[in-house]
Every structure is written in C-alpha cells, then in structure tokens.
C-alpha cells in the first residue's frame, strides 16, 4: 500500500507507548480536580454551590474552541502537506469537540436555571457555542457523507477551514445581536471575579479535560487506522 501505512505504523507504535501514561494522567487530574472543585474551593457568596458547575462548564468551553482550532490546523496540514495522519486526526477530533459543546450547553442550561431562573437564555456566549455545535455536526456529517472516505475527509477539511474563518464573524454578529436585543427583565450576571481558591480547581479541571482529549484522540485514531488496515486486508484477500 505504498507510503500510506509506513507513517501510520510508526504512529501506532508511539500511540501504544503514550496511551497508558496519558490515561493515567487523565484519571489523576480528574480525581484531583474534582476533589478541589467539590471540597476545597469556596462556594460563591451570591450563587452558593451552583458556582461549582463552572469547573465543568468553563474547561469544556475552552476545549470546544481548542478542538475546532485543532481540526482547522489538521485540515490545513492535510490540504497543504497531504499528511496522511492529518485527516485521521481531524476525523477523530470532531465528535470529541461536539461532545464538549454538548457539555457546555447542558451545564450552561443547568447553571442558568438557578441563576437566571430559566433553562435557556439567548446569552451571546451560549448562543455562539450553540452555533459551534452545528458547525461540528456539519463537519461530522460531511465526513461520513461519501462512499469514498478520502473524499469525505478532504471535503470536511475545506469545510473546517471555511468554518474557522467564519467563527470570529459569527461571534461578532451574535455579540452585536445580543447587545441589541438584551431583554430588560433579565439582568445579566457578570461571571464573578475569580477567587484564587477557585483558580486551582479550574486549572486542574482544564488540564484534566485536555489530557482526556489527548487520550481519546489517540484511541480513536488508532481504531480508525486499524479499521482501514482491516479493510485493506479484506480487499486484498478478495483479489
């Protein structure tokens, strides 16, 4: 199969060596992060214990953005340098990113009920994440829309770059729209100034999410490569 599996074979070896470490690290960071978030950090003077939702909400929002950036970089790598692993990385990352946006939206909604008194407000940030969720869905759908997986990967790469250029425009538009239509009855709570005691769990949780992302990415990429290899074996057996 020419050069296509020379490089991926090396990737699989490296992934096999890294995975146990990254998985362990993910577990440790989550245990530490959750401990600090639930037991060490103080409750907010206004929101009480509700503020602890932040330790899940904010890191997943970071990861949702970071993951799209990762996909865009991989897409550019795939289109410009035609690196065979870039498509696989982008394809593996998209559902993870979509998962992070779902966490942002659900925790945002759970946070909104006690804080704003309603499950959903058309807050500029939440609305932007909602649009980002659909960008992820479009990317995933396009990846799998073709009988030829290569074609799906390349099309999704172009889409990811178009989406990446559009994200700032969408963000700007939604912010503008939000300030114009700010309903008077809902006084918008600014996110509380971060207490240093809140910073530790937030950073720990951020690192835990990142380690989780790396671990899942490696697992998904390895599974994808194995599936491709199995298909190649089946095809060559048929000949």
């Amino acid at each position: 199969m020419l050069h296509r599996f020379a490089n991926p074979a090396r990737f699989s070896r490296i992934a096999a060596r890294v995975l146990p470490w990254s998985a362990t690290l993910t577990g440790l960071l989550f245990v530490a992060g959750i401990y600090f978030a639930l037991f060490v950090s103080p409750a907010d003077y206004q929101q009480g214990d509700t503020v602890r939702i932040m330790y899940v909400h904010v890191p997943s929002a970071w990861m949702a953005m970071a993951c799209y950036t990762f996909i865009a970089v991989m897409s550019a790598t795939s289109l410009i340098w035609k690196h065979p692993l870039a498509d696989i990385a982008a394809r593996a990352a998209a559902p993870l990113g979509a998962g992070f946006t779902i966490i942002v939206l659900t925790t945002g909604s759970l946070w909104g009920k006690p804080t704003w008194g309603t499950w959903w407000v058309w807050d500029a940030r939440l609305t932007s994440v909602l649009v980002l969720f659909f960008l992820y869905l479009g990317h995933i759908a396009l990846t799998h829309a073709f009988d030829n997986p290569q074609r799906g990967a390349k099309a999704a790469a172009v889409l990811a770059l178009v989406g990446f250029v559009n994200i700032p425009i969408i963000k700007f538009s939604v912010d503008w729209w939000n300030t114009l239509h700010q309903p008077a009855s809902l006084t918008r709570l600014d996110r509380p100034a971060i207490d240093p005691a809140m910073l530790t769990p937030l950073l720990l949780m951020g690192l835990a999410f990142m380690a989780y992302f790396v671990t899942m990415l490696l697992i998904r990429m390895r599974a994808d490569l194995n599936a491709a290899r199995a298909r190649a074996l089946q095809l060559s057996a048929a000949e």
Binding site: L2, P149, A228, R231
Partner: protein, 214 residues
Amino acid sequence: MQGLTTHKLGCIRGERAVFAGLDLALNPGRAVLLSGPNGSGKSSLLRVLAGLLPPAAGRIDWEGTDIAEDRDGHRARIAYIGHADPLKPALTAAENLTFWARLYGFDPDVEPALFQFSIEALADVPVRYLSAGQRRRVTLARLALGQNSEAGPALWLLDEPATGLDPGAVSMLANTILAHLSNEGVAIISTHGGLLDALLEDSAERFDMREFEA
C-alpha cells in the same frame, strides 16, 4: 523526442491501489489501445494522464518535461472523452458544441464537426430528444472541433469512446482518430475490443492493464 512517457506511475482510488509501476511510452503519430477487465484501472489511468487525478506515485513526461511543471500547458494539449456525455439536454446539439468550442478557444463554427459524424441534420434539435448513440456522436464531434482549429489538442484520451455507436459511426470515429495520428497527434484509447480495435490496428500498440496490477 518521444511524445508521452510515464515512469513508475501508480494510482490509489479510495483505499485501493489500482495500478503501480506503470511505464508507458508513446511516439507522436501512434495510439495505444488499453485493455483489461473492469476495475483494472483503464479509466483511472486516463484521468491521471489528463491531470484530473493526481498520481499516487511516479511521473508523467511530455516531450521530456514533467507535466507537473506546467499544468496549464498540459491541460491545453488534452482532449478528454469520458464515460458520460457532457451535454445539456435543454440545449441543441449545435449550442452544446458551440459552448465548448468558445470555452476552449476553438473555431466556433461547429458545422464541419457535426458533418464529420453525419449529425448535421440534428444540429438544431435539443439533445434531450436524441438517442444514446446520437448523443455519443455529438460528444465525439468535440474531437473534430479541436482538430479543425489551429493548435488543437495533441493528446487525446478516450475512455471507451465507441460505447453505443453503430458500425458506421465507429468507422467515422476511427477515421477521425487516424487523421489525428497522421497529424503527429497521440491518442490513448480504452476499449473492450471490437470494430474500433480492428480499424486502428495498424497505427496502435496494445497495452494490457493486467500487467501493472498493484
């Protein structure tokens, strides 16, 4: 100097390697008849040679220089006939041909080309009313368009051009190809045997794709 040469050409479709290590050399005035079973990569080879598909490995040279160095120049020397008929059903045969002639900078007078495939009577009939064989003739008349123009394409890539043609039309096609070859042109034609092969036998080499299975 040779017209077209390929060096260790390889092609991957989807995740399947179609052919590999393909070496082909073709002098001006000669044709190649590609044969091989379905899936052996005849169409893929023609698309790679046209620059429609990037080769997975190897190189294509035209008169000794790599075509990758001058993509626009390479496109200008190609006449490609694929499986489908690139005709718009709502336009007449003449309108379809005139559009391609104008787009490619050929002589927009399509009458002689229609005449060459004896479809001049169908010039003003919308393509949707034509039979499959008649549509094929209109498609092939595009070859005549380039032939009748100055600096027409030198490299003809024809993917099963005789599909659906009656014997009379096949000999018109063969004559068109022979005229092209006598004009120092080059043609690569995929076939499943039949009349066209017999008519071109004296000016063509045979090339079996099975030798280059990946």
